[in-house]
Amino acid sequence: MKSFLRWMLALAIILAAAPAFADLRVATSLTDLASVAESVGGRHVTVMSLCKGYEDPHFVPAKPSLMKAIQNADVFVSVGLELDGGWLPLVLPGSRNPKIQPGTPGFVDASEGIDVLEKPTGTVSRAEGDVHPLGNPHYYLDPKNLEIVAAHLAAVFSALDPANAADYSANARAFGDRMEGALAKWQAELAPYKGASVVTFHRNFIYFANRFGLKLFGNVEPKPGIPPTPRHIAELAQAMRQAGVRVVLYQPYYDADASRDVAGKAGGVAVEIPTEVGGTPDAKDVLSKFDSIVSSLVKAFSNK
């Protein structure tokens, strides 16, 4: 009898310690969306991102294991604007999960409601490289856009899980409040450098630049998707010298050598920044990601 009771007690402890079954299983294409989803969903969601933060979101390999990973997801959050269009059209149907296919309540285009910048006007042609025909998709580099995403996800989660709708709304509001508070701090830190110019490897910094009053001087890649040539590097560096631009920003998945080459020739500094959560070890969520970018920029500008 005592042995039986001991086993029952042990079983009870094990079961009590077991993680609670989340109400919604959420998968996202990018880590920033996963971070926002975690903030909005709280204890009611388990979240995973298919693309890792140090991976180029344009070129995620459409591995069968990614299809398997979302086979039982309840919600899929796509970044939208065809940023994940190089791999998501294989992964989503391959998951054979009817709950998350486009057109279903479980499929979310996170770009809905975003004021999209750099929408091409006139003829769109690949003579300009691998252009994004629906506009610049890197909107998650503006903290205010993530507040829009949070509100959107709260609405989606509430529709799918009405029992916890109040929590989702409250969490989204709390996320917005935290983001607004942090935004004021970041704007204060970058205020002395308003109007400063930076060069980026890829044209993915426009939303951040607009929000914080920075200017984009040029890109290390001559056109989207086209690798830098020695001539372009030399011309860009010379233009940077003449204009007094000293900072080159690049992501962990881009060619650091080319960025350092440009910066070196221009007499400046190349700085690796995490444009996606997880891009660097200190970018653990969207708030710490922006902390990392802002502190890197402040250090780069102040060391000129």
């Binding site: 991976e55 486009p102 086209i226 998945y253």
Partner: protein, 364 residues
């Protein structure tokens, strides 16, 4: 009175339900038209051992159409324009609403092996392995049919595919004889695909395939295959570095009198390495037994004769963007019928590929 009418109108407007979020999203195209892509292949070949003039050739072009039919189906079409005619190579609908299962109905490329799934412009080497044209077809087994692919609940990616197809006799494009006109001739396929992530950067895929049907001779004809692929795509450099090691074995045979008799069989093993965003190199070795190839002919009659064919191919590709490439390939083959005919086949080839319009998602 007027105030009352105005108040009623305002109340009616206030009670009007908000328009629901449109459920017309497509990940293929935000336009009303299908996603349309077009690809063209051009080939220059210098084959000193072939009785053909050197020089440029139009190899083929392909138009791809893809869109959502309705909430339940997508439709895909690949129509190929080649020097010898137009071929609706693939036209099929796929389901989107069945849990764990995807149905594919139409004119298909059967899910057999690895190389047989590729479109010509996606071949890793300019020439398909010799064993392909001698077993299931240089471009795979293509026929009208239906396939169901079940993503099993196993912890790793394990997909089981079953298919049934229209029977047809053997010809230059379809070496498998499924031409019996009997009612019970329904060629069928079984395919198992397993994929595991060995690390974040490296995957292993192991597959097995079987295809069977009744031939014009009344006997069962079949093809069997096994494939192994190791692939490395460094996540931090996914479009700049990586390699693919792939091998496949395929055999074709029949069951005269109920006992299996192997006919053609062979294998290939290839290694491709990505040096940079714009440069790939590849090396392939292959061997095919009791097989046919264009240089192995009876010198007195000109008729093709079967033999053992061994070939090595090496190539380098320049890919300035995702939408074009130029590939230089050299291959050396020795064919031997075992009776004194043993020609050498040396070829230098340059292939150019261009894609416009919708760019399909990159297959892994």
């Amino acid at each position: 009175m007027k105030l009352r009418v105005l108040a009623c109108i305002c109340a009616a407007l206030a009670c009007t339900p908000a328009p629901s979020r449109a459920q017309t999203k497509s990940i293929y195209s935000n336009l009303a038209n299908p996603a349309i892509g077009f690809n063209a292949l051009f080939l220059d070949q210098a084959a000193r051992d072939l009785n053909e003039p050197y020089g440029p050739q139009f190899q083929e072009s392909e138009i791809s159409l893809l869109s959502v039919v309705d909430p339940y189906w997508n439709l895909w079409a690949n129509i190929v324009f080649a020097p010898d005619g137009v071929d609706p190579e693939e036209v099929y609908a796929t389901t989107t609403r069945i849990p764990a299962i995807q149905l594919k109905i139409g004119k298909l490329r059967a899910t057999f092996g690895k190389h047989g799934l590729l479109h010509t412009h996606a071949f890793p080497f300019i020439q398909a392995p010799v064993i392909m044209a001698n077993t299931i077809g240089e471009e795979g087994f293509k026929a009208a049919g239906m396939e169901a692919a079940w993503l099993t609940p196993s912890p790793w990616y394990c997909e089981l595919t079953g298919g049934i197809y229209q029977g047809a006799g053997a010809d230059a494009e379809h070496p498998l004889d499924f031409g019996s006109s009997e009612h019970d001739n329904v060629p069928f396929l079984g395919h198992l695909k397993n994929e595991v992530d060995l690390t974040d950067n490296t995957t292993m895929e192991l597959g097995a395939s079987a295809l069977s049907g009744k031939g014009t001779d009344g006997h069962t004809h079949a093809a069997y295959g096994a494939d192994l692929t190791l692939r490395n795509v460094p996540l931090r450099r996914s479009n700049q570095r990586g390699w693919i090691l792939q091998g496949e074995y395929i055999e074709k045979g029949s069951y005269p009198g109920g006992t299996y008799s192997r006919e053609q069989h062979g294998w290939y093993a290839s290694y491709q390495y990505r040096w940079s965003q714009i440069c790939w190199t590849g090396l392939r070795a292959e061997e095919a037994f009791d097989s046919f190839t264009d240089v192995l002919t009876d010198p007195s009659t000109g008729d093709p004769v079967p033999g053992r064919i061994r070939r090595v191919s090496a190539n380098v590709a320049w890919t300035p963007s995702e939408f074009s490439f130029v590939r230089l390939e050299y291959s050396v083959a020795r064919a031997d019928d075992g009776k004194g005919i043993a020609p050498l086949d040396r070829r230098l080839m340059v292939q150019l590929c261009y894609t416009i319009g919708y760019h399909p998602a990159h297959a892994y």
